[in-house]
Point group: C2
Chain length 240, copies 2
């Protein structure tokens, strides 16, 4: 019997879609889930996602390395935000670090009791789908969007995951959101930068001089990692 | 200066998008807004949209012709639902009739104080966009969706409107939802039945033996009408 793969476009719609899934893939391509993949691939021991600046400050006072981003910028008083490059730093190796972001960590917070959270992005697409296809479980891709609105890059990433899983022959989908995400991905596949050129969030980050980050976030399959949430911490999946 | 055209995928998201638009195009392709166009094009004097069965019953007791649809079917105790063919009946000519539907009349209800409501569908696409392009106003397409979820046919119709208006050179868009709707429309354009074949709502209606309705709803530009909401009633725009 086939398993189900569906796409939810925004955390705000999560309650309409959440029932009956065993795995939730949280996606925030620009940039939280990409940064999480980059950090864990580069030796960070664990990333603790928190959904408020207050909680992040608590951790900072306890001596943790803490990243905080709101609206694309590092929050005052914190050392880094959600740039994937921030996490590629030798001082992060084997550390547990803390992260709060505008959209991505919120998605984790609202979905963490609804299924096993795994982290999706364009940089770990292949490793993630290779793992997902073997799970025999119903899977929901939760796009983080932008301040509760639909966004293009997360939807395309979710569409890629749905497309790959459905083509494996082991999955089906029922929702129009999933069909549309697949179509957007198929259109983006031939020219991802072209389709995303017009994306509102990409323009927003470009205005903040984050072109290097954007290029990193949109380059597929650089990292062979599958981050999962375990006991409130994002760690690398141990396949043994 | 260019005007703005944007797409909101669901009534549930309307509060995120509603600010600053002067015209709201309410879209419920399968089938409420198609039926409204068909009715007014076929001589119905006005259609009074109501958002509850209770209000619909009140009108029925007052002697009105009243249609009521929930989940694709005629509600018990009412004479018709939202099939466009219901309204092509000589007994409707010059009458004011009442309609309540699962998604479409709800969209009208939540948006009626945010701008001038006009009715969009695939059957009146050309007449509608010919009129919209001349208005010099900011326009939001509000998709009715299916029980608050994204749906494919309304999004494609909204994408067609956005595409036509932007190509006129008089409009721009900022939102990723609008970009995506345009892409979905461009993909659907060459083969609308192909893309919609998989749509969840189309499957739902097909199971109810409504293939004739579906074919009508998806045939572009049959009707040269622009329905607008005036004093709580949907009537034909008088361009004089």
């Amino acid at each position: 019997m086939k398993n189900r793969i569906e796409v939810c476009f925004s955390p705000r719609d999560f309650d309409l879609y959440k029932e009956g899934f065993e795995i939730i893939v949280v996606i925030d391509v620009l940039r939280a889930t990409t940064a999480i993949c980059a950090g864990l691939a580069n030796g960070v021991k664990a990333i603790i996602p928190v959904d408020s600046i207050e909680k992040a400050l608590d951790y900072k006072e306890q001596g943790y390395l803490v990243g905080a981003e709101r609206k694309g910028q590092i929050v005052e008083g914190f050392d880094f935000g959600n740039s994937p490059y921030s996490f590629m730093n030798t001082k992060f190796i084997d550390k547990e670090v803390v992260l709060t972001t505008t959209n991505g960590t919120k998605s984790i917070e609202i979905s963490k009791y609804s299924g096993q959270i795994v982290i999706g992005s364009i940089v770990n697409l292949e490793a993630l789908t290779n793992w997902l296809v073997k799970q025999n479980k119903d899977i929901l891709c939760l796009c983080s969007g932008w301040q509760d609105k639909f966004n293009l890059e997360d939807s395309i990433c979710a569409g890629a995951i749905a497309d790959i899983l459905i083509k494996s022959g082991k999955f089906y989908s029922d929702e129009d959101s999933t069909i549309s995400a697949k179509y957007l991905f198929q259109q983006a596949k031939t020219n991802p930068f072209g389709l995303l050129k017009a994306s509102s969030h990409r323009r927003r980050l470009k205005n903040l001089n984050l072109n290097k980050d954007i290029r990193y976030c949109l380059t597929p399959n650089q990292l062979k990692v599958v981050p999962i949430l375990k006991d409130g911490k994002l760690i690398l999946l141990n396949e043994e």
